[in-house]
Assembly symmetry: C2
């Protein structure tokens, strides 16, 4: 049996042949370079063929292929919805790849599912049966493994963590991406900074924050993290709120799912890794007390490769019919 993992990212496709221990044998990367629709499918098939050729794998050998996509993978159909790839509103990725690779079983999963499987197979959560990967970047999502299986839900959108309700009264401004995400994702942190800077401008207060040298709409989450390190009061206010909400959200994951470990990753962790202890202390206030005592909060050990290792794990698990998908 041959195991192939493919990680489709925002700008590139990474692929690898895997040993059944989940270690990488051969690896390839190609850039997406603005490809759209079926061209992206063709590019994924091409990287599969290159890996099989370089690995000396014959056509008549059985292949299990796991693919991780930045969006939603519908487990009944194998179709995918990926908002950043034009033409992938309901794209038949599983069927396209199955048709092009002889003797293959193709399984498609969302990136957050791949991330938790990557961490469990080769990263921070090795050997865990109950662990959650919280991915904080432009948005916030979670990959969830409970009782040894990844969760999918009724329509494959389990773990929509960014929508967590944490702060009444409800505000209209959260409509676009949810209460938690509007305060604690990369986009949310930048949005809160812009709101604060506009308030200061309206009140005629200058010289309060280094961020006031920037146009409010141009402030990035990275700018806020840098200002925080210089002791800036606006950055402090925004990130203290983010820490409180990361803590509350993580507490809710702990109380509801009873995991052994919560792993933080994604574009923001990086710079927010230093806050993990503060997030745990906040979560301790809120969570079910036995469950939080038994749970560790850690940073990803695979900041660049959780998706690829996860895709390999998907290939291996699918082959054992052990993936809990339909």
């Amino acid at each position: 049996m041959i195991y192939l993992g493919i990680d489709l990212g925002g700008t590139k496709i990474s692929g690898a042949l895997f040993h059944e221990s989940n270690s990488v044998l051969i690896r390839e990367t190609v850039l997406l370079e603005g490809r759209e629709g079926r061209e992206v499918g063709a590019q994924i098939a091409k990287i599969c063929k290159t890996l099989l050729l370089n690995g000396g794998v014959e056509d008549d050998v059985r292949k299990c292929i796991g693919i991780c996509v930045p969006g939603i993978a519908y487990s009944k159909t194998g179709n995918v919805w990926c908002p950043n790839i034009p033409g992938w509103e309901n794209y038949p990725l599983r069927d396209e790849i199955t048709a092009q690779i002889p003797n293959s079983k193709v399984t498609v999963e969302s990136d957050r599912t791949a991330y938790i499987l990557g961490e469990v197979s080769m990263g921070a959560a090795k050997g865990c049966n109950n662990a959650i990967f919280v991915s904080v970047g432009t948005g916030i999502g979670a990959g969830i493994l409970i009782d040894g299986r990844v969760l999918h839900g009724a329509s494959d959108i389990v773990g929509a963590t960014g929508w967590m309700a944490l702060k009444p009264m409800y505000k209209k401004e959260w409509d676009a991406c949810g209460c938690f995400e509007s305060h604690a994702s990369g986009t949310g942190i930048a949005m809160q900074a812009a709101l604060e800077l506009k308030k200061l401008a309206k009140a005629g207060k200058s010289g309060v924050s280094v961020l006031q040298m920037l146009e409010p709409e141009s402030v990035s989450s990275r700018d806020v993290f840098e200002a925080y390190d210089k002791g800036d009061p606006v950055a402090k206010k925004i990130l203290d709120t983010a820490i409180e909400m990361w803590g509350m959200a993580a507490a809710n994951l702990v109380s509801l799912f009873n995991p052994e470990m919560v792993i933080f990753g994604g574009g923001i962790f990086g710079p927010a890794t230093k806050f993990i202890d503060a997030i745990y202390r906040e979560a301790q206030k809120w969570a079910q007390p036995v469950a939080i005592k038994q749970c560790r909060f850690v940073a990803t050990e695979l900041p660049n490769d959780a998706g690829l290792y996860g895709a390999g794990s998907i290939a291996i698990l699918s082959c054992m019919n052990n993936l809990n998908n339909k």
Copy 2:
């Protein structure tokens, strides 16, 4: 194969022989009458024996027994923790019953797990693969079925919903049972009423609420529901907050688990069943918009028997090794 379900409640033990379709063949109930420790185990074994005798079941026939307990069932050991039964801090219920009933396979689960399995087999959630039972009584817990399996978690305390963090800043008064539960369980509603009445007394305001005729500490959640029906402003304030928090909590369950259905039951629903539409409208504001559109909120269809039918379902599923426990 013979299927036996036992529901251990606060004051009585109900038991039944089940057909494999989950319908009840014969049924028995005995009162607990203050029994403690091993006496309760003996009483459970006795009701099993009575049912087997009345059903004409011979000793050499294989029996699957499901037991639902008001507490935590540890799936590795079969031991249970039930705070309302003296001596059941870590009681070996599975081993005790197995030893007393020849040819038996005994499986113990928490009441919330039984409730969701009861609703899925014979109640509101028939045929669902993804559904959550929210039990609101003295406390708040949830039984969770995702991808066709009930969840257990690292130490069998999945679904500790009462601890959900919903309202910053964190308050010391939530330490005992969690933020959500302190506002929206039966105990929590009574506690909030007592706080409001004390505030009114301190401010010297009389005649504001019919509840002021009662001692603050003696007000029950039922008093608050009755006062609400008469348009009482204090009861309205407390239950409007509870509705907001039930809505936020249900929204979080929908965003995180992507269920087809959330079922409300327990001592409070009853009187709160009329609020389910209001709870759904509140949840719609907060939840992941696709997931909430696909999810229905309903009241239990088994207000008295979810535990017993669930215990029957546990017996049947355990026999098929389909219960996701260790």
